[in-house]
């Protein structure tokens, strides 16, 4: 099967593999500890760990966009900031 029309590149393939691995990791986590660990955090509404992953990924996307718009094309600092943000989301949201 020819997927050249999808115009794959190594960086984008790595990006999607990372997302897929995150989802597989969440599935394994759910299997090991069912129920999604719902709790009410600083946003004052109930979130499961799936919600927290979604908030982390969406927030990270906007951190990267903000960095590109304000800081320029070097995204390593944006990535570091996103990791800190995701840890914060999983800890406090």
């Amino acid at each position: 099967m020819n997927f050249s029309w999808m115009a794959w590149t190594l960086p984008t393939a790595l990006f999607f593999i990372t997302i897929a691995l995150l989802l597989v990791g969440m599935a394994v986590w759910e299997y090991a500890s069912p129920g999604g660990n719902p709790r009410v955090g600083i946003l004052r509404f109930e979130t499961t760990r799936g919600d927290r992953l979604f908030v982390s990924l969406l927030g990270s996307a906007f951190i990267h966009l903000a960095w590109l718009g304000l800081g320029g094309p070097n995204l390593w600092w944006a990535l570091a900031l996103s990791v800190v943000y995701a840890v914060g989301v999983f800890r406090y949201v």
Partner: protein, 288 residues
Amino acid sequence: MEKTWNNKAWFMVLPVLVLVAFSAVIPLMTVVNYSVQDTFGNNEFFWAGTDWYVDVLTSDRFWDALTRNLIFSAIILAIEIPLGIIIALNMPKKGLGVPVCLVLMALPLLIPWNVVGTIWQVFGRVDIGLLGHTLEMLGVNYNYVQNPIDAWVTLIVMDVWHWTSLVVLLCYAGLVSIPDAYYQAAKIDGASRWSVFRYIQLPKMKRVLLIAFLLRFMDSFMIYTEPFVVTGGGPGNSTTFLSIDLVKMAIGQFDLGPAAALSIIYFLIILLLSWIFYTVMTTSDAQS
């Protein structure tokens, strides 16, 4: 009661997973791939990295279109939600008037979007359109092809005509679901018309209003067909919303890389807004 766990149930979600993969995930992956490359056709691609994202995010063209989108959504929400409530409150609750009103309200919703655009394009023309010609006869200087304010007014009136019915029908559904006992209690208490609305009808309509708000915001934020047919984004760029700009960039200019980057940014904005509204809705549900 203990839940029954049956892992075979996962096979039941396979069809929808396949459907979503082909209709959403694979196209989204392709757009991401395009957004970091440049192409001149013939399936040849050149690595561009994050250049297109920087170009889009630092361009006035993107921010202007986004601002126009937000202003348009704010205006139509400010008109359609109160107007929808007022019409729903005044619709008959029983008798022959109910089906007549419901059918009349549903009619604009049944018309395809491109047909709505064509209707208003002709309706507003000064030479042959009923609206444009009548306004000209009355001495109003109206021309949506040349005047940006006229173009905006036409688009807003068209959207209000097309979509207020949806708000009306949702509000009406919320209103008829209120038990008579509430109204009887209010009557015994001697509540005014305003008090009945404020303390009985409005709280009972809260959920449907939230749905109406969500639907109308998302729809108006992604509006494409009607303004494209009526004004084509003009005069100048005065009615060029993000969706129209995207199509101009991708198909008009064949700038597939920047258009893909704009698509991803647009998608992320929609995703964020959808999540906010969904969270607000589910949170208010849980509280009530």
